[in-house]
Symmetry: C2
Subunit: 153 residues, 2 copies
DNA sequence: TATAATCCCGACTAATTTAGTCAAGTATTG
DNA sequence: CAATACTTGACTAAATTAGTCGGGATTATA
């Protein structure tokens, strides 16, 4: 699993939406400015996150985005799978995007058995962290002294 | 960490060399046939593994390749790092290929802290497995009944 | 109802990476 | 010397990545 720039931007954007979760929406422009993401690129990314059902949008003057589900219901594994495809390092150990490889017998492939372990290790971490957890970490890392309004991601 | 075709071929080739470790060399052609790897491509890959010091070659009629060090001294982490670059999903948590990312404060970046855990999980597996371990797995997976000469990878 | 703000959509591009191929050369053994 | 193998470097086609861009659709509000 390698996170592309696009993927990193998406996570950062979802984290902003998580931190501002509520009935109100957040503008693309604000997310882009705060996170230093190219605005046009972010539009594209949020559009994708929208059609995947992670966020909903509101158009027009007071428009913007918010999370569709609660932040505790969205795992990083889900997000990254949608953005980058398989979490597994090789297709033949991917559960969600399985693809046969060229070795003669998968059941007896030693490399595969190692990659299986790598996959499980990755998924173990990523399934266990939701956007809400991320938000908790932001608060923890910042410490209790700072102004919660200008949090840093 | 995503394993490219090239990377997978390299692992398979090294595993063959591990299984045949000894003073004798193995021909590219034999590795390519046994593992179903395009011969010309494998030439390129082995050349790379040679300049990286994983294997040594012998030219001429009875030429071929063998491992430079013992199979127990070569970890999958080393191999993959050389072939694919960082094991970490993002540059800012890579120990060997660190690269600063665009977030304002790495020390307080929640996403980074998760990716750190992912990296540690990946490295934990891959540092712990050597080519010799891979060979053991091949033998284990095959069971004791089969002919050790036509092992499958 | 006009208008400005905002999201929406699809096409486009440039740079990089990936997966190979190929030709001609060099060393070694029999 | 001839056949066999590795060596080197250039080349290519396709896919991916990281954006950019123009213009259209929607909506709050004055």
């Amino acid at each position: 699993m390698k996170l592309s720039q696009r993927g990193e931007y998406a996570l950062r954007a979802l984290l902003v939406l998580g931190m501002n979760h509520g009935p109100a929406v957040v503008r693309i422009r604000d997310i882009a400015q705060q996170q230093n993401i190219p605005r046009r690129f972010l539009e594209q990314i949020l559009n994708d996150l929208k059609s995947a059902g992670f966020v909903v949008s509101k158009r027009g003057v007071a428009g913007g985005y918010r999370l569709q589900r609660g932040p505790e219901e969205i795992s990083l594994a889900d997000i990254i799978r949608h953005l980058e495809g398989p979490l597994a390092p090789v297709g033949c150990v991917s559960v969600n995007y399985y693809q046969r490889c060229s070795c003669p017998d998968e059941g007896k492939c030693a490399i595969r058995s190692v990659m299986q372990e790598v996959r499980d290790a990755i998924v173990g971490v990523l399934e266990g962290v939701s956007v809400a957890h991320l938000c908790d970490r932001v608060r923890d890392l910042q410490g209790p002294l700072e102004n919660p309004l200008d949090y840093i991601i």
